[in-house]
């Protein structure tokens, strides 16, 4: 026990730096590299945004909003997000892309996602998917619709891809991750 007459107790350095000195200006609006635009909707955030291209690495194009959220699409398939918080850090979607293009064997398609956990470790989510042609619906507007049904490690989702006449993905609903859920992407609006 400590007696009632305790002397002064002091926390010496309990200063909360509310602001840190920064010699950095805030990011300017990103410089777009082309006139193409896509539209993305994330229902879980109630967010709708128009994105333009800021970078291309191989056949993966990085699209950005004006306020610093990016989506990276490889042949229309989402492989990464940034600026959303629980981002999709990277994805391995090779088998799916081959199947969408009509190449490769049908059947089970492995898919791998990476996320960052609260201790800055990369958490990998292994998924197994099936790709099937969906029954035509009025909303398809004449486009071919493929459905990718995925499950693994307690997660499951269905991604949809609407394929245009040229064989490219013109519209899609793709799952970002357990926290963010799906994003709807309408491709290129010129």
């Amino acid at each position: 026990m400590m007696r009632a007459l305790a002397p002064f107790a002091v926390a010496l350095c309990a200063c909360v730096p509310v602001d840190v000195p920064g010699l950095a200006p805030q990011p300017a609006e990103p410089a777009l590299t082309g006139p193409e635009r896509i539209e993305a909707r994330i229902p879980s955030r109630g967010a709708v945004a128009t994105l333009g291209p800021v970078g291309r690495n191989g056949d993966t194009v990085t699209w950005t909003t004006a306020d610093g959220v990016t989506l990276a699409l490889a042949g229309g398939v989402l492989v990464a997000t940034r600026g959303l918080g629980p981002d999709l850090m990277g994805a391995e979607v090779g088998p799916l892309r081959a199947a969408l293009a009509g190449r490769g064997a049908a059947g089970l398609l492995p898919r791998r996602h990476a996320y960052l956990d609260g201790e800055n470790r990369v958490a990998t989510l292994e998924l197994t998917c099936r790709l099937a042609m969906a029954a035509p619906a009025a909303a398809d507007a004449g486009l071919r619709r493929m459905e990718e049904t995925c499950a693994g490690a307690g997660q499951s989702f269905v991604n949809s891809y609407w394929i245009g006449a040229g064989g490219s993905v013109v519209r899609s609903v793709q799952w970002i991750g357990p926290e963010v859920g799906p994003v709807t992407i309408s491709a290129p609006l010129l």
Binding site: M2, A9, A11, G90
Partner: protein
């Protein structure tokens, strides 16, 4: 969405237990306690249970019933061990001898709760606990408790208690040794000592109870308490019955509100707030997206990238600055582009490195195929990371991109001095920000605080030379209302704190010139002179040996200081002292960091400090420390020796915005003059470790964030 995740974790035991399949699967897994007791221990109402909480959970429990208020901070140190610090306000309690009633006392206690055995299909979980390590405090009591899950929603616990939790029958341990039969009378002295002489001694008693998780949010508890409240019964309240009942409501993902009916006479309320440092409030962080990579080759030209020649103008500096990085210098050697940067914005250096690499791909000519990025802290070139441009380009979107990039990267100690980036030096930075400073557990008032404005300035005329200071102006607060003439027989190096708080509204807590340098491989040096901290000024010199990836680091620090005037302006008082320490730091590799400091303290006393911290890759730290010096307990005064707990909370953990700022709080039961250390900004271990190979590796996943 993060709140949903946190809630799942809090309710995890309940929800998973509700699934028939999960019961069989988890039958041998350790189970989590459903709630905290009024003492802030995993438990029922007043009594403990044998379970623990989720590993790393940090909880604040505020509990009140007639004449008793208990505030407890409990940390689940490991899967099996939890530790608590408790501050209690007790009114109308009998004195230890029992012959008078004290209107109000303040009691501080440290507790430990350790799960000896996990629950099995048949066997119960078993735990042992000590409610006051001093063994002589108001809550001095020990227990052994067993708990069993009877159905997914029903649990029962049965335990035996000693000390405050005992008293009904002769101690069964008496068969082992006669010494267990009687509990030594409290030898309070200056208190605060760890005193195992009383533990598990004297008459024992049984306690127990059941808890029923009625719904996912509502939990009902009934218990038989063996705490007879001998010092409170009849003065603070009437203890009419040993039975307690409680109803807990999970009000939110982290908050539980409890109403108790206690001892047949009292209504109590309790609020528990629990968080887990491992799960950031903001997930991995809502950092704005980084710039994309620019691969070399024709695709870049097609996209119309400006081809910028490295070294031409300030384009690279500006691009780095937009990412929160200061470009200190650059040079090109053949196909290697070298840059020297300082991380301004990111809690983890790996993220700064990743952003720098992205910027470099955009600005380096295609002839460059390697980047050598030197990370500099306070002018000290800490480490250099060599990255292959090919690998960067091929791994930008790969799910295992971070690990594969690390496998091909080389991290070396130090780095060459590069031609300074134009306009980098001299650098001047000024900032005005609000501040809050607190004093916790003053016996007159548990919390005192001042708020005001702090003007900070920092001037770097050349690499490694930092002139910095802070002027504070208090706008409001009550820190100056403490009035406790110290009874210390030692030089009043800390117990005069209240005089400094009274010293004036506008103060200069810190004004120093510092020189940081690298004397050699794995070595770091610092010399700081000026007004080092609010109470002392002088000269401080430090040398640290810390290999890039080693577990052990060694340091030595010597200081010649003089006590400052109470007004915290430019004058000094008469007291001078030479103080310094030899320090060893050891990273146990499982998230625990130990530190031992041997040396001479501010009051001239000689001794050692032992610290143990659990740290998380996101920057959270929870730790405890204790110092013994050649000052006797009687001379030290209340508490017998210096000890306390400390918390470091990175600001970005809560806000989700990238920042290196952190909130540091040390809590001592009592601050006296023995075992007191000088506070100096820029101590080397904390300054350099994040940018070393081991620090980069701890958070390497953030490279691509």
């Amino acid at each position: 969405m993060t709140s949903g995740r946190a809630r799942r974790a809090v309710l995890g035991a309940v929800l998973s237990a509700g699934l028939p399949g999960a019961v069989a699967a988890e039958i041998d897994a350790p189970r989590l306690a459903w709630g905290y007791s009024t003492l802030g221990i995993p438990g029922l109402v007043d009594m403990p249970v044998a379970y623990g909480r989720e590993d790393a959970e940090l909880a604040f429990i505020l509990s009140h019933f007639r004449s008793q208020t208990r505030m407890t901070l409990t940390f689940q140190v490991t899967d099996r061990l939890s530790g608590s610090f408790r501050y209690s306000i007790l009114d109308n309690i009998r004195s230890a001898s029992g012959n008078r009633v004290v209107p109000r006392i303040y009691d501080r206690s440290f507790s430990l709760h350790y799960r000896l055995m996990d629950e099995g299909r048949v066997r119960p979980a078993l735990a042992v606990g000590i409610n006051d390590l001093g063994g002589t405090g108001i809550y001095g009591g020990e227990y052994l408790v067993a708990s069993k899950t009877l159905s997914p929603r029903l649990r029962a616990s049965l335990g035996i208690g000693w000390g405050r939790l005992g008293g009904d029958f002769a101690n069964p341990f008496g068969v082992l040794s006669e010494g267990f039969r009687t509990r030594p009378a409290p030898d309070v002295g200056q208190g605060g000592k760890i005193d195992p002489k009383a533990w598990f001694r004297g008459d024992a008693a049984l306690f127990g109870g059941v808890e029923w998780q009625a719904t996912d949010r509502l939990r009902l508890v009934a218990e038989y308490s063996s705490d007879d409240y001998r010092r409170e019964d009849g003065t603070a309240f009437r203890r009419r019955s040993p039975l307690n009942f409680g109803a807990s409501w999970q009000a939110g993902p982290q908050t539980t509100v409890t109403a108790n009916y206690l001892y047949g006479s009292e209504i109590g309320v309790q609020v528990s707030y629990a968080l887990n440092p491992r799960r950031a409030a903001a997930g991995a962080g809502r950092d704005p997206a980084p710039p994309p990579l620019r691969p070399r080759g024709p695709s870049a030209a097609m996209l119309g990238w400006p081809v910028v020649v490295a070294g031409a103008g300030s384009g690279l500096s500006d691009a780095m600055a937009r990412e929160g990085l200061a470009l200190n210098g650059q040079s090109t050697e053949g196909s290697t582009l070298r840059v020297d940067i300082t991380n301004i914005r990111y809690g983890q250096s790996a993220q700064a490195l990743g952003r720098a690499a992205r910027v470099l791909t955009q600005h380096a000519p295609d002839s460059v195929d390697r980047f050598a990025v030197t990370l500099t802290e306070n002018g000290m070139r800490v480490s250099t990371v060599i990255l292959s441009r090919d690998r960067l380009e091929s791994l930008e979107f790969a799910p295992d991109g971070a690990a594969r990039l690390r496998a091909g990267a080389v991290i070396a100690d130090g780095g060459p001095r590069l031609p300074a980036a134009p306009g980098r030096y001299p650098a001047f930075d000024l900032g005005l920000a609000p501040y809050i400073s607190t004093s916790l557990f003053d016996p007159d008032q548990p919390v005192r605080a001042d708020v005001g404005l702090a003007l900070r300035a920092r001037f770097e005329p050349a690499p490694g030379i930092v002139i910095s200071g802070r002027v504070q102006h208090r706008l409001a607060g009550n820190l100056d209302q403490g009035d406790r003439p110290p009874d210390s027989v030692l030089p009043r190096v800390r117990s005069d704190a209240y005089l400094y708080f009274k010293g004036g509204a506008t103060t200069i807590p810190e004004l120093t010139a510092a020189w940081y340098f690298r004397p050699g491989q794995d070595l770091y040096g610092r010399v700081t002179a000026g007004y080092l901290e609010p109470m002392f000024g002088g000269v401080s010199a430090e040398l640290l040996w810390k290999p890039q990836a080693g577990r052990l680091a060694l340091g030595v620090e010597v200081n010649q200081v003089r006590q400052r005037d109470f007004d915290q302006r430019l004058g000094f008082r008469r007291y001078r002292v030479a103080t310094g320490h030899v320090s060893a730091y050891y990273d146990f590799g499982n998230g625990f960091l130990g530190q031992v400091d041997l040396g001479r303290y501010l009051a001239g006393d000689v001794g050692a400090t032992v610290s143990l911290d659990r740290e998380f890759a996101n920057g959270w730290r929870v730790g405890a420390f204790a110092t013994r010096t050649n000052v006797s307990s009687a001379d030290f005064g209340e508490g017998s020796f210096d000890k306390g707990i400390r918390l470091t909370v990175p600001l970005d953990w809560g806000t989700g915005r990238p920042s290196r700022a952190q909130l540091v709080q040390t809590v001592r039961p009592v601050q006296r003059d023995g075992g007191a250390r000088l506070e100096v900004s820029g101590r080397l271990f904390e300054t350099v470790r994040g940018a070393q190979a081991s620090g980069l590796d701890r958070s390497w996943g953030r490279f691509w964030k």
